[in-house]
Each structure stands twice: as structure tokens, then as C-alpha cells.
């Protein structure tokens, strides 16, 4: 079955600490991978994406994710988090059909504490 799995439902972390949000995908989805962020009471915003090329992709606000084909993972990392990073983070992949259907993981709530 096509699936994206986020192993942690909640990740509490102190401000300025590093964080990793884990994401694994099934081999039946495409390897177009995305991380979306949802701030409270807002919609989904694209954080970063992997389509091809370099396996390490970066966002403008310091997040990065690494595509690892052998481990079927696309973990999201940030070396030093801020209070403003508190949000829900969703990993997603395109399904194997070519309609552009996105398959989402369950989401990880990042709670940054002062």
C-alpha cells in the first residue's frame, strides 16, 4: 500500500536545541517528497521538496531534509529551533498514479519551549 509514516506524533524541544522529525515512505509511492508546515489555524505551506538531484534539500528558514533511498526516509532537521517553529509538520509524497495526488503522513507536532 502507498503510505507515508511519521514516527513521532509530538516532539517537544527547548528553544535553540536541534530537532529531527522522522518520515518514512513506502516503496510504492513516488520519490517526489515534500514537507509541509501548518501553523495554528492556518493552511498548509510548503517547507521544502525533493524531486531529484542532490539528496539534501534546504528551506529558507534553516530546515533541511535528506532523501535516503536505501532507508526510504526523508527526515527533517533543524540545528537550532525557535519558538516560532512551533507548528504541525506533515511529510508527503506523490502517489504512484500521475494525477498528482499527495499522500500525507500523520503529522508531527513540534512544540518549542522557551
Amino acid at each position: 500500500a502507498q503510505s507515508v509514516t511519521q514516527l513521532d506524533s509530538q516532539v517537544p524541544v527547548f528553544e535553540e536545541a536541534p530537532v529531527e522529525l522522522r518520515c518514512n515512505y513506502s516503496s510504492s509511492v513516488s520519490v517526489y517528497l515534500f514537507w509541509y508546515v501548518q501553523y495554528p489555524n492556518q493552511g498548509l505551506q510548503l517547507l521544502l521538496k525533493y524531486l531529484s538531484g542532490s539528496t539534501l534539500v534546504e528551506s529558507i528558514n534553516g530546515f533541511e531534509a535528506e532523501f535516503n533511498k536505501s532507508q526510504t526516509s526523508f527526515h527533517l532537521r533543524k540545528p537550532s529551533v525557535h519558538i516560532s517553529d512551533t507548528a504541525e509538520y506533515f511529510c508527503a509524497a506523490y502517489g504512484s498514479s500521475n494525477t498528482g495526488k499527495l499522500i500525507f503522513g500523520q503529522g508531527t507536532t513540534l512544540q518549542v519551549k522557551p
Binding site: 492556518q42 498548509l44 505551506q45 510548503l46 506533515f90 498514479s97 499527495l102 500525507f104 503529522g107
Partner: protein, 113 residues
Amino acid sequence: EPEVTQTPSHQVTQMGQEVILRCVPISNHLYFYWYRQILGQKVEFLVSFYNNEISEKSEIFDDQFSVERPDGSNFTLKIRSTKLEDSAMYFCASRDSGGNEQFFGPGTRLTVL
């Protein structure tokens, strides 16, 4: 910067009533999507729409659901007879023909009483 808009932001309805959720995708986009997110759960794909027809739909998208692009700008999701379990946040998204990124609207929170 162009964006996807959705109206209303919050819709409250009685069970059995029909609702129409409206979306205005980004103007030059050709692919349109509806997703839903039940409170506390993950975002689920409902339907994709291209060239004035459904290109893929999920098991959730049963006969109670329909989509339409009534004019050149709007993209609607209709639920014919709402159930309690239809209560969720509904997101519209669009994508252009050459891109891989879907742009999401802010969502409509549907509450069925």
C-alpha cells in the same frame, strides 16, 4: 503573490443538509484537488480534477460528493447530504502543468451538527 482562496472559512450545517465549499485556485493552474483533515488526524486526499473531469478519487469520495468548475475561476466541492463524520477541515489545492508543487488554500472548517 498569487494564492488559493477558499470560502467560507467556517461552515456550520445540520446533518442531512447540502453544503458547497468554494475555492478559487491560482489563475494559470490546471490541476485542482480537494483534501480533508478530520480533527487530530492526517490530511487525506479526496479528489483530483483536470480538464473538466475527475482524474482520480479516493474511497472517501462517494456519491454524496461532487466537484465542479462552474466558470473559469471557481472550483467547488458539494456534499449532498452531510453526515456527522463529514466534520473536518477541507483544503483546496492547485498546481500548474509544469510544476510539482501544490499550493494550498487556508481551508474551510465544516461542522456538521
